[in-house]
Symmetry: C2
Subunit: 393 residues, 2 copies
Amino acid sequence: MPREEYVLVCISCGESYPREEVVYRCRRCGDLLEARISPGGVFRLDTLIGRVHSMWRYRELLPSFFNRIVSLGEGYTTLVKADKLAKVVGVREFYVKLEGLNPTGSFKDRGMSVGVSMACMIGAKSVVCASTGNTSASLAAYAARAGLECQVYIPEGKIAWGKLFQARMFGAKIYQVAGSFDDALKRVMARGGEDAYILNSVNPWRIEGQKTAAFELWEQMGGKTDYVVALPVGNSGNIAAYWKGFKELQEHGLINDTPRLVGVQAEGASPIAEMLTRGLESLPDWPNPETIATAIRIGRPINWKKGVRAIRDSGGTAVKARDEEILDALRLLATTEGIATEPAGATPIAGVKKLVEEGWLGRDEKVICIATGNMLKDTNEALVSWNKPQKGD
Amino acid sequence: MPREEYVLVCISCGESYPREEVVYRCRRCGDLLEARISPGGVFRLDTLIGRVHSMWRYRELLPSFFNRIVSLGEGYTTLVKADKLAKVVGVREFYVKLEGLNPTGSFKDRGMSVGVSMACMIGAKSVVCASTGNTSASLAAYAARAGLECQVYIPEGKIAWGKLFQARMFGAKIYQVAGSFDDALKRVMARGGEDAYILNSVNPWRIEGQKTAAFELWEQMGGKTDYVVALPVGNSGNIAAYWKGFKELQEHGLINDTPRLVGVQAEGASPIAEMLTRGLESLPDWPNPETIATAIRIGRPINWKKGVRAIRDSGGTAVKARDEEILDALRLLATTEGIATEPAGATPIAGVKKLVEEGWLGRDEKVICIATGNMLKDTNEALVSWNKPQKGD
């Protein structure tokens, strides 16, 4: 089978760049780049049987040109059917994908496996990112696995303890920046990665890894696409990745229709939901993002164009969830199904509840919610204050 | 294919009990019970291809008589090859099994899936356990999934924050008992489970779930058994479960030889290592267990007879690791391979290093270490104090 071919293409002006060129934004128009693949062949449901139980089982639609694949067994996460939750929410079938069971506890590992493999391919000695926590935890782990130096920039006092703990454990150099994630990202981009390969979601290779979650849903649902997928939206790289995955399945004739993608944002950090619900042409300013869901506490989503395209083209929608609604969803999921996630991972459930109440989602729908991160990353007392231990009798 | 038959048998006097009888210890001699299976058939490497990616893929050697299987997709966890670690430790091949990627972040989920399914089978309305943390987190989740009430007894101030957090999130009734785990367990056993089904490791059904990890190693290593398996030992139910799994593979002709099992205990809670290294006939008293590895901070292992048998019969050994050695192993694993685990999960690596230095393990050996729990369960500052964040430049 011929090997796949990759090229980097600007999503606005179409300018293209060789796959191994270190370029984060189009040099002509400054917009985002996308990795475009011309596969030498493609998998089928039956050819996947017996393959490795990680996202690399979808090798035909992943880079095969790396001199080494940096992997910790990421992807191929559990999809749990939640019948009690379906009844409570009021839809026919309800599923939760446990992305918190990735090696470092979030979906970011998918992108970092590809991104850090690319860093090795181009001979980088150091990698860098700005992060709300999950990205730095993941990058730090994959950099350690690859033997690369890792620098992470985090908003001071604004990320969950467990995530900071992870980056420290994996030996990353951690810099705390006064301000928000957006300020930390500006710091990283300003340095232009002259001394380190930048692995923020502006890096198109991470989306190549994250798109495999769409392949998994397709495989785990028996090749069907008759469901709605709801995801938390922060930087909006992940919802764009799911859309890219489903579009590739469609391009290669593996599916006819694509699922609708629902993007759920925390009310205090919801520029994309604001843009779509108010029908704005561009992203509104959002200077001070605030929400208990730290993983999506982002005011200026770097991938907003890709995210908006994913929601619009899939016939989906965007919705906001208040912090109380997110906490209620978190408790509901934990106490009815025994499944827990970090606050951001419960936002899709809060959003789906709203869409059912509003009638956008019918009683007959199948819904898949993506629990993006492990509950243990954010053990904020506020999340469990409703259930206090008692003295032993 | 005929269905499998199960019976409960006393490990000392051989007295047997019907599989669904609620009995925790032999009524004749008071010793531990074991679930004995006469399978209607058995799997082979090739018949496993394409089966569910959870421990239930090994259905021929698991209970099939349940009216409902309470599952969150537990088991079938990643086995990571760690070449850099192999060099550092000085063995030919080194593997780490990521049991922290189970639904609630520890190997306990395997046992609870079977144990809580049994609770449903006998019509229990409530389940109870004493716990150092992982057991209560797991039981609370599976009880929620099954719709059962859950009570957990924990030693006050002696369990990792993340684990207490989990039990609270899943809605368990939590009772803090003054004293150690052993005191909490006495409390539970004294009540004799009159109002709740007891799911401590005295319950033989949990071991039926945990034994599947041995089946996985066999499958993931391509049917081979030419390696040493090193595990942390607290209550010693898990090492007994691995041994039961390997013995069943042997009884059914799937393997000739079994791996040697190495039990690693924290020095401050090492009655089994003490007994074996000093050649004692029974377990020495250990009134005040102390170690940073809270998951194995146990002075009187309830399954010590099964654990000692597993180590002796497999031709393995027991070894102690000091807290500093456990912390060094934790950092080594994280910074060389990008893999993190709770302190107890790193004790096998500390133990293996010692056994290589002592010459018990040769340079030519293949070693598999079981990282029993997720690092995020125990984010004790002491574990990462060696790497402090800096001010952003």
